[in-house]
Amino acid sequence: MSRLSRIRGRWSIPAAVVVLALIAGGVYFTRSGDDPAPVTFREAIIDAPEGPDSPQTVNIETRLYLPQQTPAPAIMLAHGFGGSLRSVHTQAEEFARRGFVVLTWSARGFGRSTGQIALNSLDREVRDAQKLLDFLGTRDEVQKDSGGDPRVGVTGASYGGALSLLLAGVDKRVDTLVPVITYNDLAQSLLPNSALATPRSDATPAATAFGEDGIFKRSWAGIFFSAGMTSIDLSSPTGEAPEMGQTESNQPAVQQPPAGGSGAQGQQPPTPSLGACGRFRPEVCTAYTEVATTGRASQQTLDLLRKSSPVAVTDRISQPTMLVQGEQDTLFGLDQSDATARQIAAAGGKVKMVWYAGGHDGGNPGTSLRGEIADWMAFHLQGRGTDPGTGFEYAVQGAFRSSGTPSLRTVVAPAYPGLSPGSSAERRTLKLNGREQVAVNPAGGNPAAISNLPGLGSALSRSSAISSRLSIDLPGQAAVFTSDALESQLLLTGSSTVRLRVARGDQTSGEAILFAKLYDVAADGSRVLPGSAVAPFRVALPPDGSAAEVTVTLPPAVRPVESEHKLALVVSTTDQAFANAEQPAAYRISLASDEISVPVVSGRNVTTGFPTGALWGIVVALLVLIGAGVVAMFRRRLAHDSDPDLAGVPLVISNLTKSYPGGLTAVKDLSFRVEHGQVLGLLGPNGAGKTTTLRMVMGLIHPSEGHIRVFGHKVTPGAPVLSRIGSFVEGSGFLPHLSGAANLRLYWAATGRPLEEAHVEEALEIAGLGDAVHRRVRTYSQGMRQRLAIAQAMLGLPDLLILDEPTNGLDPPQIHQMREVLRRYAAAGRTVLVSSHLLAEVEQTCSHVVVMHKGQLVAAGEVADIAAGGGEATFRVDAPAKAADVLRGLEGVHDVHEDEDAVHASLNGVPRAAALSALVAAGVAVDQAGPRRRLEDAFLELVGE
């Protein structure tokens, strides 16, 4: 045991270093475990016909990412508008690591693929994708459903998401699809009209009017178009949307470079002919130019847009579909996924709907959502994992949290309401207040209200608080209708509807272009425009000045409207993001019905907000702590050891050794006993190991070997038998801020023993401090502290009193009194152990003595015995040689030897007086005669060294 602890002591620092290194290594290992083997990919150029009957071909650049194990199901991953296969590299690698073969490609007109952009035309881009399906069907790495039919899922964001829908609609080889933040109808996205004279009866929560003759979404369309012109992508979101349980610190670390941004462009060959139409096909270019210049779309343009939109094929999609749409998206809003979901469900497809806290204004899907997409693919392509089902998930952005990002929770409903026949979204009706108001349209539609800043949105909406507070309504240009303060929280989920009445305010305008917004107004008046979204609508106004009634569907959003908040409907005449009416006009706007119908989708919260891992960790940590306490308690219980034979012996020290790691041995193989009633002196020069021995007796220092028994009980740290010892070792120990009396009282209180056993008064009188006993100890002299400490040792009248150098620092009268105290204390039936380096001290105080030197026992026994040294005598004489002769002549006297001024002899029964008279008779002048002081000799020898 002792050797073990020595080894332990020596190695504790290296051991700590090793443990720390192991922990660091563990952390590094678990982190590096997140970076699996790099995924390899192969590039290839695949030729596809330029058009349906064209002899020309376009070159499509592709990359095939291979997982570690093949054959595996494939995922076709399409990029967003303005991007290229390079912009989806990271996501492709993620899929490949999940065990999928991943095919990425640059759509025609993007990246290094040749050809012109035809906006996901069924005849061109979709045919290209089918060609890629053919290619996958020929690859051995790809798992097949049958001959040339690969097991494949399609996904992509925005432009790529639309392609996935279109491809799934025309080609049944696609097994499943996950379109992300994409459109249902490009015409409705870029030219929305949110008003209908007679409302539709769609039962889904985010269904909007999809009226004809929409208002041109000028800024977004411009950004979208310029992305195709220059391949500088402003339309795709940058960064990632916030996710639940994510901290702000995660954001910069995983932020991706802007998709297809400058990096991708740098690698691109300069496009030879960047005319006014860039890489667009002429018909697309013409259509855009028409809309951008007139603000209205001809039927031809609408047909072109609609033919390139998923709406053209959604009635043919029956594959399981997971629709991912962003709540921060003023380009392709939640209404687009709502329409797609309705159409697919009507065609018999399975639809799961996910609304996340991102979008074109708010960021790409984050790690967790990408993981969910991969889970979907894994289930539907590999049959792995649990069924992701056909539910509806939406993210609710809450309020502030400590790490800076908004708090998010995800709500899950069993299904997207309104998809299955008979079901419909729950709607709450709130009363709106507000009389008829006049709103003026300024000439040229300028200045205009601001609701969002497309393109910049993704940068701004990093902080949703900023972007939703960005909105500005101009006075005089808007009519405002406000609800009463809510009594409880309302979780708005989808598009609210309101019925409005609009009439001419003057004689000029035949139709009105208006913009409806629904604000969340806090009690203090601060407003938030959820999703920064605006519902533009066009109303034809009767020429007679009477009012036209329309039902306006407000932009779909998810917003927890807290209690005490109000909803404010603002109908303005202008909006920066749209093509406003040029003609100055005034409109009279009023509520046709004073109700607003607000959709709510109840579900349960997904609280990854409660990290179960950490909870379990808390439980385990508590159990470990309790377990450690219990183990320690049992080990203490087992430690007791007593020897009843020694119950009457105050102290037995056996083979006691204390050595330190440095090789120093303070006490070596020391054995002695202290019997009842003794005043035993432990004598030795400084450094003899006296104090170390006494500390071991008190259980303060662990012996390296040997053991100590006090009244038969083995001394261990805190052994109960120590309560029978009173000690004063190496200086006093008092709380300097307390008085002497308070110190003794609190010390006794700390022992937990009854106050009547203490004899505090008697002890204090022994200390004899007078009035000083009520002063703070810090004002005491060394001597006073010493006396108080001895008094403390005597508290409780201990059976064994241990005092280490008790007379140090006392003046002669006090020393004298101390000797008296100790002698009489022992006489009263107690035992006293005193250490000293002064021989005279021990001789005068003690009955017994143990002499120590260099940690070892030199001599032990009664003081008188050791001092007198049997029958030896010493005579201090003027002529030692002569005296020696005289003594040798006496009968019985032997062992005579002389030194400089004395002669020593073993008198052996001869009285000292007889020897003395013999010496005097022989004419030797005797200065002194007495017992030979062997103890002193021995001691002086030791000290003299």
């Binding site: 602890s5 610190s249 809450g398 309020a399 502030f400 949290r401 400590s402 790490s403 908004p406 708090s407 608080a465 203090d524 601060s526 807290e562 990854t608 907000g609 990290p611 950490a614 909870l615 808390i618 940590a621 702590l625 320690a632 203490r636 500390r695 008190m698 259980g699 303060l700 220092i701 740290p717 805190g718 052994a719 109960p720 038998v721 120590l722 309560s723 029978r724 008092f734 709380l735 300097p736 801020h737 307390l738 308070a742 010390y747 209180a749 700390a750 937990g752 023993r753 008697e762 009188e765 022994i766 200390a767 401090l769 000083a772 002299s781 006396r787 009248l797 059976d799 009489r824 107690r830």
Partner: protein, 308 residues
């Protein structure tokens, strides 16, 4: 000092020896004097008496009472826009009494509160060692595990009292100065006064739990050194280093392992829609660090040679 006052009356010796002669010590089964019970040694009340009478304890508690007044006064002296409804903690401090409490906890959370806990726990053993009184307590005998536990409990009580005292005084000062209005969060969310009080109570609970790691580390350092300043200063130093590292963005997720990383997670309680995840992680982190350090302290103290 008059040395003549200090002397032992011969009668006193007689009294003592008479008492000794008449009192025979009863001995219990375990070898102890009869009145001695290990489980009655160093009761928390006794240890609290020993600590509360110390100047440093009184000074710390006094300062905590004073701090809210200093803060309120500085808002009075400085130009503040009363009843602002947006902005950060500092801007919102004058919106209501609760907001003032939030500010007080916010400004003291990173340095003052850890330092106070470090002071109470780091000083507890080390100062006894520096006064040489530790050896007499252990020889009394107070079993070592018990001494550590009782001292830790007393320090814990003092720490929790200090942690509760500061917001309590701040609440009083805040209500007196700024009224018992609604608490406004930095996002402009407002909650009733009662909810705010509850939130602050929970925040104090969380802070107390979160500072367990400070307590554990300070106790450990207190056991391995005889210098109180070393134990307290060392703990505060570790806390500061951890906070500095927490600001190094490139460390990324590694910062979650820093003991101070979740120190401000109580701010989540301000929201009406409370997100418990950070606080749960913070509790776990504090428990693990605090537990490890406490076990290390207990182990070291058990085997240590007391040489002070």
């Amino acid at each position: 000092m008059n040395e003549h006052d200090v002397h032992t009356d011969p009668g006193a010796i007689t009294e003592l020896t008479d008492a000794a002669a008449h009192q025979r010590t009863e001995v219990a089964q375990d070898g102890s004097a009869a009145g001695y019970k290990a489980r009655r040694t160093l009761r928390v009340g006794v240890e609290l008496q020993r600590q509360v009478r110390r100047r440093r304890t009184q000074f710390v508690l006094g300062f905590l009472v004073l701090l809210p007044f200093i803060l309120a006064l500085s808002f009075e002296i400085g130009q503040s826009d009363p009843n602002r409804r947006t902005g950060g903690f500092v801007d919102l401090a004058t919106a209501s009494g609760i907001n003032f409490v939030v500010l007080t906890l916010f400004v003291s959370g990173s340095f003052l509160l850890p330092m106070i806990v470090a002071l109470f726990f780091g000083d507890t053993i080390a100062s006894e060692a520096s006064w040489s009184s530790l050896k007499y307590l252990l020889a009394a005998p107070i079993p070592r595990h018990r001494l550590l536990r009782q001292k830790a409990m007393a320090s814990g009580i003092l720490s929790v009292f200090a942690l509760a005292l500061l917001p309590a005084v701040a609440l009083g000062v805040g209500v007196a100065w700024y009224g018992a209005g609604e608490v406004v969060s930095p996002t402009g969310e407002a909650a009733p006064f009662a909810d705010g009080v509850l939130g602050m109570a929970l925040a104090v609970c969380y802070i107390a739990i979160n500072l367990f790691w400070v307590a554990g580390l300070a106790l450990f350092l207190s056991v391995i050194t005889d210098a109180p300043l070393g134990a307290v200063g060392g703990t505060v130093l570790v806390s500061i280093v951890s906070q500095i590292l927490d600001q190094i963005e490139p460390l990324g997720d590694l910062r979650n392992y820093l003991p101070t990383h979740y120190a401000m997670a109580w701010a989540d309680l301000l929201s009406t829609d409370v997100d418990w995840s950070e606080m749960t992680r913070g509790t776990f982190s504090a428990l693990v660090y605090g537990g490890i350090f406490t076990l290390l302290a207990a182990r070291r103290f058990k085997t240590k040679d007391i040489t002070s």
